[in-house]
Subunit: 220 residues, 2 copies
């Protein structure tokens, strides 16, 4: 559809501006995408608590409605700006640009953009992030990468969350990994439980590495 | 946006035709909506196995990609037609009309339309169904009705699924119910586990009642 192409082109131009702004400020910006209820906010709360001594984190919260997540993030100790999308099913680059004006993230920090819980629409909209991170929880079934291939193809990292529930669900981890690799052979996969803390060190290592890359990329 | 209004108006006109066709054929048509991984397909498999002696069921399967769900449904014993939406995030009334030509459901039967896993976009698109049924699983968190109010407002019935996992997750059932009632005071709520079978009789009772209503409605 021609109009869709025009909307995407306009969004991409604004995303390019966001990306340049993040680069200039040496900020690592991540676009967190998943189904509703995969545990994005819990993962962020824990990450903020565990990393705040070494790296400053900021959160842009996208939701159809409510300000709950923003409040949870602030309680965990990070500045958060809530962007409600109303009937919209995803964040767009201009919403991020407006959110940043309010959020005012420091140079060298991490900006986590928590997208609307939706495995479809956010895949198409570039926000200017350094990378998309897709969170899949073990209660959702191992077929999700095949059923939502655009999203898993667009992501650089997949976090397999809620592994503390593995003994109680029918979920084949190796099949989930094989399915993710089938649509995206280069995807990095980490297994964690944001609730129990298991595996989170691998996520923090990845974040620290990416923060370093963002610093180097300022003059790339 | 004007174009969005035009798309919705065109969809609504086709949905009205589907609804009249279902009424003429005394068919109960349900639009099943949820997050990815809430257990819609497992619920349908079980329902087909448990009800097939008394009521004929047909399934229209909507997915971004893959034909897995259609195959699971056929293995459970019901005719199924798979509609892949590609980049699309929801089914539309014309896809349902085309699917019905292939599915050829009998008079007096139930047609289950399994929408794309997405709590946002399917809320806006009428398919001509008798009712929307929203499935929420206990692993997704009790805040979902407040965060996706359009969907929970559009649904007549909410199925709270995976109650067998309640001992292993932090999920407050009474708060989830209160949240659903806050956005939709009339919503009917059933608690089930499609895996263990707990609570499914209440769902079958509701279906049998609605099948009766669909028969009476043919000349209403």
């Amino acid at each position: 559809m021609e109009l869709e192409t025009r909307i995407l082109a306009k969004n991409d131009a604004l995303a390019t501006k966001n990306r340049a702004w993040f680069a200039g400020r040496e900020i690592l910006a991540l676009n967190l995408v998943s189904s509703p209820g995969s545990g994005k906010t819990t993962l962020l709360e824990r990450t903020i608590r565990d990393m705040k001594i070494t790296t400053k984190l900021y959160v842009l919260e996208g939701d159809q409605a409510t300000a709950n997540d923003g409040e949870r993030i602030r309680a965990a100790g990070a500045p958060a700006v809530q962007v409600n999308t109303g009937a919209g099913c995803h964040l767009e680059a201009d919403m991020v640009a407006r959110g940043l004006v309010e959020l005012k993230p420091e140079s060298g920090s991490i900006v986590m953009i928590e997208n609307v819980g939706n495995l479809v629409c956010p895949a198409m909209f570039d926000l200017g992030e350094s990378a998309k991170v897709v969170i899949l929880s073990v209660t959702e079934g191992e077929d999700k990468p095949l059923k939502y291939p655009h999203m898993f193809r667009a992501a650089e990292l997949m976090i397999l969350n809620k592994i503390d529930l593995l003994p109680h669900v029918d979920f084949d981890v190796s099949r989930a990994i094989a399915n993710a690799r089938e649509v995206n052979p280069d995807i990095i996969i980490l297994q964690v439980s944001a609730r129990s803390g298991e595996g989170l060190e691998t996520w923090y290592d990845w974040l620290r590495h990416e923060v370093g890359q963002a610093r180097e990329a300022a003059f790339a």
